[in-house]
């Protein structure tokens, strides 16, 4: 595959992911809002006691829609990438990690914005996860860019010396990482035996 074709593929995959995020998130939640307001409206005409819980549910659904929208918009291209570039943004993630976290970045070329954004998401999500669950005393993030044959790729490694036993649950952090990575036809490998350590390896093909 040519560089350009690969870049376009990544772009299309990213557009599709965003479209699904918006559809499954904000759009469906707003339909819920409209529906619950409709139910409340009918209750007010007949049995007004039932209207209040419906209005509260409508408000919750509207709040969910806003949260979903905020996340989707932010994840499209986090503002910190514009300000500091990928390396600077990753540095910020490592610096704010409570578990001491080292960062090594090797040969980071210009990669498509969608790949940068995905790489940032993967690292930020993985570091958040390990802070929450691993009980680790040390963590490391390594990102390098290499060319294997005609394939250019970004490789990401996130390791910690914590308790291990990390599993992939629907809707969980790791599932989110997998979804983002697979949108680019990338790969995610996670080894996390009980007792640790936990190692995550991600490869993101990039076009240019």
């Amino acid at each position: 595959m040519t560089r350009r074709a690969a870049a376009l593929d990544a772009h299309v995959a990213e557009m599709r992911r965003i479209e699904r995020d918006l559809h499954d998130g904000a759009q469906n939640r707003l339909v819920s809002v409209v529906m619950m307001l409709g139910i409340a409206e009918r209750s007010l005409e007949t049995n007004s006691d039932e209207a209040l819980p419906q209005l509260r549910r409508a408000q919750e659904a509207a709040t969910d829609a806003l949260n979903g929208l905020r996340t989707t918009v932010h994840d499209i291209y986090p503002p910190i990438l514009t300000e500091r570039g990928l390396e600077g943004a990753l540095r910020a993630v490592a610096d704010r990690s409570v578990v001491p976290c080292s960062l090594e970045v090797i040969g980071l070329h210009r990669v498509p914005a969608a790949v940068e954004s995905a790489a940032y998401f993967v690292v930020a999500e993985a570091v958040t996860n390990l802070n929450k669950h691993s009980g680790a005393s040390r963590a490391s993030v390594a990102v390098d860019y290499d060319i294997a044959g005609s394939v250019e790729r970004l490789r990401i490694a996130v390791d910690d010396d914590g308790a291990g036993g990390a599993t992939e649950r629907a809707g969980g952090g790791i599932a989110g990482i997998r979804r983002r990575v697979e949108a680019f036809a990338g790969t995610l490998r996670l080894t996390s035996p009980v007792g640790g350590p936990t190692r995550m390896r991600v490869e993101l093909p990039c076009g240019s």
Binding site: D24, N28, V31, G38, I39, R42
Partner: protein, 212 residues
């Protein structure tokens, strides 16, 4: 009326079930996938489906609706979608237009209108979203007789295609029923349609014209 719901979004599925139960419908099942839905046809008088469900999140609901009507010809289906496409309307109507509804998802919020639409579809009627009709109208060529319709006549045409009768159209537009009849007479004359058609047949005549 026994209704089965198929939507893969849990909140929407439960909300829709609550809405329909509150309105006196017997919701026999609410499922999140097409296969499950197809096993329930014998238990239901009508179905409400989301176009998009797992695994590909494209047209599973639409395909399930078509398949349901292949297995049980005329089985009433209301297909809901976040985004309306003329091709989807065409696919649904090609299997026979009786007992078919195709609506934007958020129309469920207008509870009285939505349940009215569901009942009309269950009775063998056809209900198309005004958006679809609007799109069919705007896609017409410049030399089309549709262009000779007044804005008011276009509005009436859209409401007819939604499956409304004269009284309901009059109510929506805040005009008298006599005025509606007059508009409809003009529309049918301009488009060269038979004015003898009424009710469901009238919807079909309008849709057939719009799709020609």
């Amino acid at each position: 009326m026994r209704v089965v719901i198929a939507d893969d979004d849990a909140l929407l599925r439960e909300g829709l079930a609550l809405l329909l139960r509150n309105e006196g419908f017997d919701v026999v099942a609410a499922v999140d996938n097409a296969e499950g839905f197809l096993t329930l046809l014998d238990d239901a008088d009508a179905a409400v489906l989301d176009v998009r469900m797992s695994p590909t999140f494209t047209y599973e609901g639409l395909q399930a609706a078509v398949e349901a009507r292949r297995r049980r010809p005329g089985f009433p289906v209301v297909v809901l979608s976040a985004y309306l496409e003329e091709q989807c309307a065409a696919v649904l109507l090609d299997e026979g237009a009786a007992g078919v509804g195709y609506l934007l998802k958020e129309r469920v919020g207008k509870v009285a209108q939505f349940t009215d639409a569901l009942r009309r579809v269950a009775d063998g009627g056809t209900v198309m979203d005004p958006e679809v009709i609007g799109r069919m109208l705007s896609a017409r060529r410049g030399d089309d007789p549709i262009q000779s319709l007044t804005p008011r006549e276009r509005e009436v045409l859209g409401l007819m295609a939604e499956g409304l009768d004269n009284a309901s159209i009059a109510e929506r537009l805040f005009v008298s029923e006599t005025a509606v009849s007059k508009h409809i007479g003009n529309i049918f004359t301009k488009l060269g349609l038979s004015t003898s058609d009424s009710g469901h047949r009238r919807v079909l005549a309008v849709l057939a014209y719009l799709r020609s």
